[in-house]
């Protein structure tokens, strides 16, 4: 108990002074939720996944001392802007809307957007198909924006979840009829026991580049142009020297970079 007390007092008293000294650290924000196969905690509490491998490779290439900092997804852009973190590696799509707030590195992967749904229901991923369905999306995502833009007016009732795995869980429980998210993450869910039992892919949504964006990039503050150049160079290098393909092969049998 006393050691906790000491830690707490120490943290209070010196936290302000001590942490200012080590300004060289780059805080790399990730969403504090399981989002397999990109980021998920393992049973020892460490973060794993394709995107963690990617982040480590980029940081090493760019010579940055990155510290993984888990945060809640729906507050990750405010956290970036208020300098709680310095970059976002969280499967964040580059969209015009977000570009007004923050900047992005070049894209590092791209995946189509799909809808999955309950097996016993027969529908497709169109506004008509989803017209009387309950669709789950994660809040603060392009899918939330997309669903509200294209499906809400057609009578789809949209439920928003703080994390993707909670939306998936509610689909498996039958509370939702369908879930919209990116194809890689949802296919990973369909391969799990719960996913296999309940659900199937219902199809890809019609593209809307304005909302869905050209791919996923590292989120950055607008003024951090130097960091952006470093990261872009590092992404290009690991694409060329085979590092990217090497860690991708551990997770996928295709190239997630997309066209």
């Amino acid at each position: 108990m006393t050691s906790i007390l000491k830690t707490a007092c120490f943290g209070l008293a010196l936290g302000f002074a001590a942490s200012a000294a080590q300004a060289e650290e780059i805080k790399l924000g990730i969403a504090a939720e399981p989002y397999p196969p990109f980021t998920y905690p393992d049973a020892s509490g460490k973060w794993q996944g394709w995107e963690i491998d990617f982040a480590n490779a980029v940081c090493e290439e760019a010579g940055l001392d990155c510290v993984i900092t888990p945060l809640s997804w729906d507050g990750i852009i405010p956290a970036l802007k208020s300098e709680k973190i310095d970059m976002i590696v969280g499967s964040m799509s580059i969209t015009p809307e977000r570009l007004e707030e923050i900047d992005f590195s070049d894209k590092y992967y791209n995946t189509p957007t799909i809808v999955i749904g309950l097996k016993e229901l027969d529908f497709d991923a169109s506004p008509e198909g989803l017209s009387d369905k309950i669709l789950g999306v994660q809040s603060s995502t392009v899918h939330q924006v997309y669903a509200n833009k294209h499906f809400a007016s057609g009578g789809t009732s949209i439920k928003e979840y703080q994390t993707q795995d909670e939306a998936n869980n509610d689909l498996a429980s039958g509370r939702l009829d369908a879930v919209q998210a990116d194809a890689i993450a949802l296919k990973a869910f369909l391969e799990t026991e719960a996913g296999q039992a309940c659900c199937e892919e219902k199809g890809q949504v019609a593209d809307d580049i304005e909302v869905l964006g050209p791919g996923v990039g590292i989120g950055l503050r607008k003024e951090d142009t130097e960091l952006k150049e470093k990261l872009n160079a590092a992404i290009a290098t690991i694409r060329e020297n085979g590092t990217y393909d090497a860690f991708s092969e551990k997770y996928f049998d295709f190239d997630p970079y997309g066209s």
Binding site: D74, E100, I134, Y161, A172, S173, R175, A197
Partner: protein, 269 residues
């Protein structure tokens, strides 16, 4: 709960209220609000007003629904802990301890996601007549809030039942009242009367718990503001507005309760 949300003593307020430094403070407050209005971004507000209104209704429905149901549950919970047989006393006490000893957020997630994860294992649940409600999120929110209110208020009711002077109960028995009549005519009204003043504080605490239901997809006031924050990328303005709305709601609750408390006769107590 010993933490009442607002100070009860009025002595400071009865003194001359407007002093020079208060005028300055009020001016500063007005200037701050004016600055927030002028320099903040509020163009989103008209667009979201209808949704804020419906969010407010959800919050209020949850608050009053759970407080009412919770209070109805709290009476037997308190009573059996004072006078019940051990097989009622023990579970009631254990229930209150368990609910009061764990965070409401965890209870909420246990109810909603925990129960939800069991649904696929129950065959035929989708044909069950309550399924339309089991699919929705608000029944779980209402249930969790009700249980929480019942546990806290149950503890208070226990104290209220135990605190009724035994002489009054003995007198009622001496008059030959049956146990049921004694409970209905003497014990319950006296205990309720003792517990009523705590309702104010408990209801304000309950109001402050309602935003948690937004984490299980119920779109209450807090849920609407979260939506604003995501869509506008603003942090300060929506959150300050939200805090302001809750402050106004708390103030209304406090003054409403004070008004009603003054109308309940307290002669001879």
């Amino acid at each position: 709960m010993t933490t009442s949300p607002l100070p009860a003593d009025e002595t400071s307020r009865r003194e001359s209220w407007l002093k020079p430094h208060r005028l300055v403070l009020i001016l500063i407050a007005v200037a701050l609000i004016a600055a927030a209005i002028i320099f903040g971004r509020w163009d989103w507000l008209p667009r979201y007003l209808p949704r804020l209104w419906s969010g407010l209704l959800v919050t209020l429905a949850m608050l009053f629904g759970s407080a009412l149901l919770g209070f109805v549950l709290a009476v037997p919970l308190g009573l059996v802990q004072v006078t019940g047989p051990w097989w009622l006393k023990t579970p009631a006490a254990a229930f209150c301890t368990m609910i009061r000893g764990t965070p409401l957020l965890l209870q909420l997630w246990l109810l909603y996601y925990g129960l939800g994860s069991l649904f696929p294992m129950i065959p035929g649940i989708r044909e069950f007549f309550l399924w339309p409600y089991l699919r929705e999120a608000w029944p779980y929110g209402l249930a969790a809030l009700t249980i929480s209110f019942a546990a806290y208020e149950g503890e208070i009711m226990r104290g209220a039942f135990a605190g009724v002077p035994s002489g009054e109960l003995q007198a009622a028995r001496a008059f030959g009242m049956s146990p049921a009549k004694l409970l209905w005519r003497i014990w319950l009204p006296r205990a309720l009367h003792r517990a009523l003043p705590t309702l104010n504080g408990e209801t304000v605490l309950q109001l402050k718990s309602t935003p948690l239901i937004a984490t299980i997809t119920v779109v209450d006031l807090y849920g609407v503001i979260s939506r604003v924050r995501q869509e506008t990328y603003l942090t300060y303005e929506p959150l300050f507005l939200l805090a302001l709305i809750y402050m106004v709601l708390t103030a209304i609750l406090v003054f409403a309760f004070r008004y009603f408390e003054n109308r309940i006769p307290t002669r001879g107590i």
